[in-house]
């Protein structure tokens, strides 16, 4: 009895803690600023897209959105290709090389790439990779490689050895075995890793903040951050921008909850 009421009350509280802020944001995107402040939870006086229209007119949100799409698309694809090749190699090598390779990425997992912010800032300036989307893609790939290699190695190791051996006897090159056997079988693991990478890359702030000063090259989190200064405390605008930045992830989450949840937890468990 006591257990049941504690359970009920705590689940309700946490549910409300998530629903209320989300509702404030969604409702706020149709409100004027005064409405947001005075009646944050009331329905807007009229449902409209005025805030969206205004936001896209006065700010760089459209441009930033495209930048984020480009950066995320390239980062995720490149990481997946490189990490899956590397993970395949590690899982097929019984030699010392495989172990060394694996422990290199293990270091990167224990000590995240973020600790390198000083030397990366210097290096990217020297290489003139600042204010370039390609620079952001490069550093994203480097920081997400360790976790991706880990998830995929764990998966490749579980595949039955006979699958590879049969084709090796037939004289297939390692790359061929990777392409025609390992990759098709690893679709679920690749999917989970891709989702994990999508979310963290889309939301990444630190390195873009470090490497981008040009307004036209900003990714969404950077633009969103700049609104704090630009619109000061104009929360109807800020909430509209939060909504624009979150819509792709929310839409994907609603469409494929299961893969999202398993993808984002694989990242934690395998890491």
């Amino acid at each position: 009895m006591i257990y049941k009421s504690i359970r009920y009350v705590s689940l309700t509280i946490f549910a409300l803690l998530i629903i209320i802020p989300s509702a404030i944001v969604v409702l706020g995107s149709s409100k004027t600023d005064a409405e947001v402040y005075n009646k944050p939870l009331a329905l807007p006086e009229s449902w409209n897209l005025n805030n969206f229209r205004f936001l896209f007119e006065v700010s760089n949100v459209g441009r930033s959105f495209m930048n984020s799409v480009i950066v995320t698309g390239f980062s995720v694809t490149i990481t997946l290709v490189l990490a899956s090749m590397c993970a395949f190699a590690i899982s097929r090598m019984i030699t010392v090389t495989g172990k060394i390779l694996f422990s290199l990425f293990a270091v990167g997992l224990a000590i995240p790439g973020q600790v390198n912010l000083v030397p990366i800032f210097i290096l990217f300036n020297d290489l003139q990779l600042t204010n370039k989307l390609s620079g952001i893609v490069l550093i994203n790939v480097v920081t997400t490689l360790p976790i991706s290699v880990f998830i995929l190695t764990a998966f490749f190791r579980e595949l039955p050895k006979e699958m590879y051996e049969a084709s090796e006897v037939d004289g297939a090159t390692p790359f061929r075995v990777y392409r025609s056997i390992a990759l098709p079988l690893s679709r679920p693991a690749m999917g989970a890793t891709a989702i994990f990478l999508f979310v963290i890359t889309w939301n990444e702030l630190l390195f873009p903040l470090l490497l981008i000063t040009d307004n036209d090259k900003r990714t969404l989190p950077l633009t969103l951050l700049s609104f704090r200064g630009e619109f000061f405390s104009n929360y109807s605008m800020i909430f509209t921008a939060v909504l624009v930045a979150s819509i792709p992830m929310v839409a994907m989450y609603l469409l494929m909850q299961r893969s999202f949840i398993s993808g984002l937890t694989a990242g934690a468990v395998k890491g």
Partner: protein, 280 residues
Amino acid sequence: MGLPAAVLFGLFYFVPFIANLRYSLTKWDRITEPEFVGVRNFVNLLTNDDLFYKVLGNNLRFTFLVVLFQTLFSLIFALFLVKNTRANIALRTLFFFPTILSSVSVGMIWLFMYDPNFGAVNLFFTRLGLENFALNWLGSEGSALYAIAFTQVWFHTGQMMVIYIAGLQQIPQELYESAEMDGASRWQQFRNVTWPMSIPTTIVVMAYTTIQSFRAFDLIFSMTQGGPNNSTNIFAVLIYQTVFSELRIGYAATQSIFFILVLVLVTVLQRRFLSSRYEK
């Protein structure tokens, strides 16, 4: 075939890592030439830098609070929602939801929630007649770090809960059945079956939460930028400020080295502590 990934990672992770060690021995503002100063930065940092100790304290406090409460709450919610009923699955989906948002979005949302005049948090306390709790949450030194820690826990509890649920569902049902036959209460079942059986999951959850809390740069930077009066400043924010506001590259590099040392130390100690529990 592992070569491209290894080369890229070597060039942009390990090479900068070594370069960072070199920078830490210099005084450099990126305008004039770097000047070799030996271990002066290290000495300064340890003996003559109150801010460094403040940040170290903040970082440890923040990590401790987040790890403690995030682990606790995620375990409790996992216990509540472990059965695969339709309602439970719906709640899991809801609780997991904040995880997919960006730190900046979460920061903006909670900036409004904590607003001293209009925020929902103070509105709630005032309505309940608890005006004493209606604080300037992010604006005062005493409460800002706690307010952000709460936001961080709100942000990722659902993700850790899902990991716990996966772990709890692995526990053989027979253990509970025999405990029930022995007349064990719900608490005894938790104490003697669930808790010991879920320690491996706890290790994963705590390790991940620890790294996550050290990486809370995005959230803190979008909410308070380390203020007021550095009360929410943690390592990553400090290093960023030393590079950009003070242009002290060498010193920032030294701070990074201590950042790494603290991170590694916390992780190792935690793992030791938990695995000793596990072996018992």
